[in-house]
Amino acid sequence: MSFWFWHGMRRGIQSTGYPARAENAPGVSPGRPVNTDFPTVEEARLAEEICPTDAIVAHGRSAYVNNGKCVHCQLCLHSLPSPMNWEAGYEWTKLPANQSECATLPSAFSKSMHIMVVDAGDCGACLHEVKQLNNPLYNMHRLGFFFTATPRTADLLLIVGPVSENMRGPLLKTWEAMPTTRRAMAVGSCAITGGVFGRSFMCAGGAGSVLPVDFEVPGNPPPPLAILHGLLVATGRKSITQTGLVSEGRS
């Protein structure tokens, strides 16, 4: 059994250098569409039309992206005569539309934040990406972030999924059991706007309609580094980048 020790040692440190250094390994992020200026009005209109979730809004020759609605179908990348611009990267965290101030946690939390995750009707992708933060390549423990088994010791509620009616009660109970100071973060376009599931008799259409959300991490699903960026923003160790604000678009 001692071979496991040597096996682990031989692999060495595999964790990403992020946030100290940018992580550029291929495949860490699918990228996303960003606001694009087209040569003609017609091309911008085509981009608006092809988007199945109304995440792209054309205004003159410009097409604006609402990343909270984007479900990453890639139609605007592969199926347009002139595609939308895509940005690589993963620092996507933004504030909800109804908030102007970034509600970072007090500095006492900056090196020790305990996170409670609630799967509120998620398809499994966002939850899976959240789980990846525990694997050695991301290893969020090194940054002082921990998943906790009980809401009583949690500082941040991380919500994935559009909030199904059957999960509304358990989600609220978890939120109410958390001590103040607490923050809520919606991860993924479903948790932000309801995504493809929208609003129906079984779906609240996003965490924001159930409880006050402080941070949003767009993506379908957001890659692990985007979620990590969200955690860093929540503790005040990263600021919301300019791109994140610009690409919120006009709608």
């Binding site: 059994m1 071979f3 496991w4 020790f5 096996h7 692999r11 595999q14 291929p26 495949g27 860490v28 992020s29 699918p30 199945p52 979730t53 479900v71 990453h72 179908c73 890639q74 139609l75 990348l77 592969h78 199926s79 409670m116 995750v117 609630v118 799967d119 009707g121 998620d122 398809c123 499994g124 992708a125 939850l127 899976h128 959240v130 990846q132 525990n134 694997n135 050695p136 390549l137 998943f147 906790t148 991380l158 999924g161 559009p162 199904s164 009616e165 059957n166 999960m167 009660g169 978890t174 493809v196 599931f197 609003r199 129906s200 008799f201 079984m202 779906c203 379908n220 699903p221 890659p223």
Partner: protein, 540 residues
């Protein structure tokens, strides 16, 4: 448990003509012949519902058909109930029951085909049809403590955007099975494991050490996908078909697309068919690496967990480099694939796949000699061959209990009949057998990916879908967790009228209790991990 399950020996197959003759001989008087259609090879239309249980018993027990699932459809004047049975090697058989719309009661087939249990509970909950003889209806998808009685959301008269007032019944108590003095129920979920587990609830009933009854309560993630897609276009519904369960998104979108292609009599071009196999196997490989990581994690063997998790993450990255999405979204379209891949892209993918296979092999060899790990898996969560057949377990879990059925071979789609591969199976049915099946299937997936790349010829990637409406068809695929069936019905405008997905997690959650019962509490997380089921895939 049913003793007289199968006079047909495992591995021995009967043909479609034998089956038709045998059924005709016994049920000729109550059956009206119907031409093969909708993706089925044979439709047995029953004139009266009273013969339904005996016909289903004959197909399942005497002719060794697999039970696929049940599909209910509300038409303007009548109900259509399809009971899908698979005759391995031949195709799907549809037992069709057409009933006037006023019908409120249908005989239950649970006594004959136990696997129909949850299907009937679902139809009762969502359509309001009562199944006579079913031992336990109600409190299934619409949880009793928050939903009032009398709601039937899948009925056409119900609007998907209606605002229903929920009740909150604080007095509500779940039904307990063990009533002995001193027994108690330990609730787990819906938020458990630090929220990292998918939302579901277990009632573990016990008198002390061992779990005597394990009742999973699911559908916390029910988003009514099948209701909200009604009246939407095929391309819009495709978004939901691949997003209701992301960890097997490609397999489910493939089953959906194949159903639409059948309705429109379109065949995906050869290049698209081979690429679909390639991407489907890539998804299976990634899923199995993740499932293996979860099993290692449940036994708290940290280094192996890290090793497996890295393999999974590297495959996610390879998928992203290859397709532009870590979970392979946006590739399938009705008629083929949304984009083609260049030779260099395939070559780069192959390098990652081969590396993943080597790493999996190292992991397997190390785990095989880790006695503390094996002690936690061996003889734990065992499902014997008879129970697996009785519960109709599918996918790798079924194959760990000698249920050979794999749709890639039993009912090939997308050109799998031209591929050479094994279907690994084990007979022990315990946690270790399930782990071995996962490793062996991953190896087969790599083999299939190599064959797919060799078979690729230049050509079109997508056939135009401008076919005929209205129509309905069944599409299927062997998802990483087992058989996935998608029933799609289009109206005269080409919009989706009814969509129903039968998922492997739905089939296997129903049989999960068999593995969890009579084992100690501390084994429960391990049994859960070796089953590797998804709640959201079941819930839809």
């Amino acid at each position: 448990m049913a003793a007289d399950i199968s006079p047909v020996k495992t591995g021995e197959r009967i043909g479609l003509s034998d089956l038709t003759a045998a059924v005709g001989e016994r049920f000729g008087s109550v059956l009206s012949p119907m031409p093969a259609s909708h993706g089925y090879v044979l439709t047995l239309s029953l004139a009266q519902s009273s013969s339904l249980p005996s016909l289903c018993r004959f197909l399942f027990s005497d002719l060794a058909c697999q039970f696929g699932g049940m599909i209910a459809e509300e038409q303007s004047t009548h109900w259509q109930l399809h009971y899908a049975f698979l005759l391995p090697g031949s195709g799907w058989i549809d037992v069709l029951l057409v009933l006037p719309i006023e019908t409120t009661t249908v005989p239950s087939i649970v006594a004959e085909v136990n696997a129909a249990d949850w299907h009937e509970r679902e139809v009762e909950d969502l359509f309001g049809i009562h199944f006579e003889g079913h031992p336990r209806l109600g409190d299934f998808i619409l949880h009793d403590q928050i939903w009032r009685e009398g709601i039937a959301p899948m009925r056409k008269s119900f609007a998907a955007n209606s605002q229903l007032k929920q009740k909150l019944d604080l007095e509500w108590q779940p039904l307990l099975i063990v009533g002995d003095p001193g027994s108690f129920a330990m609730p787990v979920g819906p938020v458990y494991d630090g929220g990292l587990g998918e939302s579901l609830h277990f009632l573990l009933e016990t008198v002390g050490e061992d779990v005597i009854r394990a009742s999973p309560r699911l559908f916390y993630n029910y988003r009514a996908v099948e209701k909200i897609v009604e009246g939407r276009s095929v391309s819009d519904v495709l978004l939901l078909a691949e997003r209701f369960t992301a960890t097997s998104a490609f397999a489910h979108s493939l089953a959906f697309c194949q159903a639409v292609e059948k309705i429109q009599s379109v065949e995906a071009p050869a290049r698209a068919a081979h690429l679909r196999i390639l991407i489907g196997e890539l998804e299976r490989l990634r899923h199995h690496a993740g499932a293996i990581a979860a099993i290692c994690e449940s036994t708290a063997l940290a280094v192996s967990t890290a090793h497996a998790a890295i393999i999974e993450e590297e495959l996610l990255r390879a998928s992203c480099v290859f397709s532009g999405h870590r979970y392979l979204f946006g590739l399938n379209v009705a008629g083929g694939l949304s984009r083609d891949f260049a030779a260099e892209e395939l070559k780069a993918l192959l390098l990652s796949i081969d590396k993943a296979e080597r790493d999996l092999r190292i992991l397997e060899n190390r785990l095989r000699y880790s006695s503390s790990f094996l002690d936690r898996l061996e003889d734990v969560g065992a499902v014997n061959v008879e129970s697996a057949r009785y519960l109709n377990l599918v996918g790798p879990i079924g194959r760990a209990s000698a249920q050979h059925c794999d749709l890639r071979e039993a009912c090939p789609y997308s050109g799998y009949e031209g591929y050479v591969f094994d279907i690994p199976y084990e007979t022990e049915g315990d946690g270790y057998a399930r782990l071995r099946v996962l490793f062996a299937e991953a190896t087969q997936s790599v083999k299939l990916i190599h064959q797919a790349i060799e078979a690729l010829q230049p050509g079109a990637i997508c056939a135009p879908c401008e076919g005929t409406y209205p129509g309905a068809a069944l599409g299927w695929a062997e998802a990483p967790r087992g058989a996935a069936l998608h029933w799609v019905s289009l109206d005269e405008k080409g919009l989706v009228e009814r969509y129903h997905a039968i998922t492997p997690s739905f089939s296997n959650w129903h049989g999960f209790h068999e593995a969890a019962e009579d084992f100690a509490f501390q084994d429960f997380p391990i049994i859960l991990a070796t089953f590797g089921l998804s709640a959201t895939e079941c819930d839809r």
